[in-house]
């Protein structure tokens, strides 16, 4: 009897493993193995010719490099500025779309294109806008007398960086808007009516009801958006390839240039590992923060 139960337990365990096996296999192939391989590579001097173990040399080189420090700072600056703008614009957009205005269904659809059309197509459109000779922005600037000649937005360090931010915000805002809109629609109408009966005006209701009620979504959205923005590659690559003179090179672009363009697989891998560590730390802090927000705003 005892033997039989033991056997059944064993077969149950096997069955359970069989059920999760596809998922485990998937994670192993897609996540675990590449991660392990990247970590291994980061301790190698590796190129097309072969590999050679160099210990922590790739890391110490990076930590000593002023360029790399600048890239890290630039990446975080890029991330905070872009995410901040996306959240502010998303919040304004969601509030407007949530208002009882005629034709809001149409506006809700019109918000989508930047998100829906392929990023590459959108970015090529922005490339034209930023072009100094036939671009809309340069032309408009000259017409209005702000510019005294053709201005190539992507050719100068500062203007290239902020132009890339504008494009990134343009691509990323619709999704933030729609998520915040969904959250706003989840807020009970009774809360607003109760506040209105008590004399709370629009701004007061927005501040004291809407914002606290959707705070958990704002925070979650900020985290997701931050990770995507941190890792955003296509937009920068299509617009500037990280230039001019590294002005738009974020960590992810730097990693690509090192590993793929220059065939320095080992150094690229070291950068990738640092990205993973930085994002993991960032996410940890964030989750801690999210937990606090959820507790504060009454979400169980």
């Amino acid at each position: 009897m005892a033997e039989r139960t033991g056997r059944r337990k064993l077969s149950e365990a096997w069955f359970a493993w069989m059920l999760v096996a596809p998922a485990i296999l998937f994670i192993a192939v897609i996540v675990a193995w590449p991660l392990a391989e990247t970590i291994r590579l980061s301790f190698m001097e590796a190129d097309l010719g072969g590999e050679e173990f160099v210990g922590t040399a790739n890391y110490t080189d990076l930590l000593d490099s002023r360029n790399f420090h600048e890239t890290v700072v630039r990446t975080f600056y890029w991330m905070f500025l872009s995410v901040g703008l996306k959240l502010i614009l998303g919040l304004i957009g969601a509030t407007l779309l949530n208002a009882a205005i005629p034709g809001r269904a149409l506006f809700r659809v019109l918000v989508m294109p930047p998100w829906v059309i392929p990023i590459a197509i959108g970015c090529i459109g922005w490339l034209w806008l930023y072009n100094g000779y036939f671009g809309l922005l340069s032309g408009l600037g000259q017409r209005l007398g702000i510019l005294d000649g053709p201005f190539e937005f992507l050719a100068y360090k500062q203007s290239a960086f902020y132009s890339a931010i504008v494009t990134d915000v343009w691509v990323g805002t619709p999704m933030v808007t729609l998520f915040l809109l969904a959250a706003m629609q989840g807020v009970s109408r009774d809360l607003y009516e109760a506040a209105w009966v008590d004399g709370a005006g629009r701004w007061y209701r927005f501040r004291r009801i809407t914002i606290p009620q959707i705070m958990p979504v704002i925070v979650s959205m900020a985290l997701l958006s931050a990770i995507w923005t941190f890792n955003s590659f296509e937009i920068i690559w299509i617009l500037t390839e990280g230039g001019p003179r590294g002005a738009t090179t974020t960590l992810i672009v730097d990693t690509y240039k090192t590993a793929i363009s220059n065939y320095k697989f080992g150094e690229g891998a070291a950068r990738a590992v640092i990205i993973v560590i930085l994002l993991a730390l960032f996410s940890l802090i964030y989750l801690f923060f999210l937990n606090k927000v959820n507790r504060k705003y009454g979400v169980k």
Binding site: L191, W196, V197, D198, R208
Partner: protein, 365 residues
């Protein structure tokens, strides 16, 4: 003097007219309950008083002042919602204090008023908690607290007890009645539950299809329903309606032949009926006793202890319910005879209006 007058209130949502010329005069310190089935317009009427909906026509007058076009906050009303509408991110204290914060009242005044409201509602030890940590009844009390601190002229309640379980609802009914006495304020209360209406109201407004069917005290509605609708709505279990034909309307009452074959002579006004008219006799389940008269075939018997409710049908198939003695010797499937006290019966004409009863049972000392 917080009187509330509704003058010819009409409301349409697009082509659908939901309220038809509502005219009500609610007195100072009165507890008035709007009752009716869902969709009768009672909540809409309350929301119109609150200022959450605009009227299509008519005036709302509070304390002699026309407030029809004013914002809710300027009307001197406060409202308690069915869902409680508490702010989940604020503590009980801040929830109650919310209207005062909007008014930018000083912290001292806020603390004082919240403390007083919390004391009345026995919430003092709950003030630091969040609504999520409270039971349904406590949440409802917080919502009431929020309306008390504003010291409004008129309190509005929109089905405040619907989300509570039966036992708690009973307790809260008593508490609300006590609160009404303590605050000495005019209150308008919406419910679909006729028990709440009967137990709490000074006067009840019965609404049906956006029209006032009757406005009167609970006992008036019970003993003198103006229409068949009111008669069927007020009273538990519901009134029975037995079809019949007027056999004689010339004497001091109306003689009616029921389909059952029985003849009842009822002391009601004879104006407006003549021999041969189809009428319905309204008989409350509690106004019959075992005896001769109607034959009831009992299908389901509910023994509640104090009373036994017998559900069944008369010999012609008319559904009938009788509320009999708790220990009555009756059984499911066994027919019994029922005697109707003619003084307690009601007669309704085909259009649903009542023939006035000549006498009604007075309250027993």
């Amino acid at each position: 003097m917080a009187t509330l007058d509704l003058e010819n209130i009409s409301k349409s949502f697009g082509p659908a007219k939901v309220l038809h010329d509502i005219d009500l005069a609610i007195r100072d310190k009165e507890f008035v309950v709007f009752v009716g089935p869902s969709g009768c317009g009672k909540s809409t009427l309350l929301r119109i008083i609150a200022g959450l909906e605009e009227t299509s026509a008519g005036r709302i007058v509070i304390e002699g002042r026309d407030v029809s076009r004013e914002d809710p906050v300027d009307r001197g009303i406060s409202m308690v919602f069915q869902s409680y509408a508490l702010y989940p991110h604020l503590t009980v204290f801040e929830n109650i204090a919310f209207p005062l914060r909007v008014q930018k009242m000083t912290q001292d005044e806020v603390s004082q008023r919240v403390a007083r409201a919390a004391e009345i509602l026995q919430l003092t030890d709950k003030l630091p908690l969040k609504p999520g940590q409270l039971s349904g009844g406590q949440r409802q009390r917080v919502a009431i607290g929020r309306s008390i601190v504003r010291e409004p002229k008129v309190f509005l309640f929109d089905e405040p007890l619907s989300n509570l379980d039966a036992a708690l609802r009973g307790d809260m009914r008593v508490e609300l009645s006590q609160l009404h006495r303590a605050l000495n304020a005019t209150m308008v209360y919406v419910t679909h539950d006729q028990v709440e209406a009967m137990t709490m109201a000074d006067r009840i407004v019965v609404l049906n299809g956006g029209r006032v069917e009757q406005f009167g005290s609970p006992m008036e509605l019970y003993h003198h329903p103006a229409t068949k609708f009111v008669a069927g709505f007020i009273g538990q279990p519901n009134m029975n309606f037995v079809p019949g034909t007027v056999a004689d309307a010339s004497g001091g009452g109306v003689a009616i032949d029921t389909v059952d074959g029985a003849r009842l002579v009822l002391p009601v006004d004879t104006a407006g009926v003549s021999t041969g008219d189809a009428v319905e006799i309204g008989i409350r389940p509690e106004d019959v006793r075992l005896g001769d008269g109607l034959d009831l075939n009992i299908r389901v018997l509910e023994r509640l202890g104090g009373v036994s409710i017998a559900h069944g049908a008369l010999s012609d198939g008319t559904r009938f319910c009788a509320s009999l003695d708790g220990n009555a010797r009756i059984e499911e499937g066994v027919p019994v005879g029922l005697t109707v006290d003619p003084a307690c019966a009601h007669v309704f004409k085909a259009d649903g209006t009542v023939l006035r009863r000549q006498a009604a049972p007075a309250l027993v000392a």
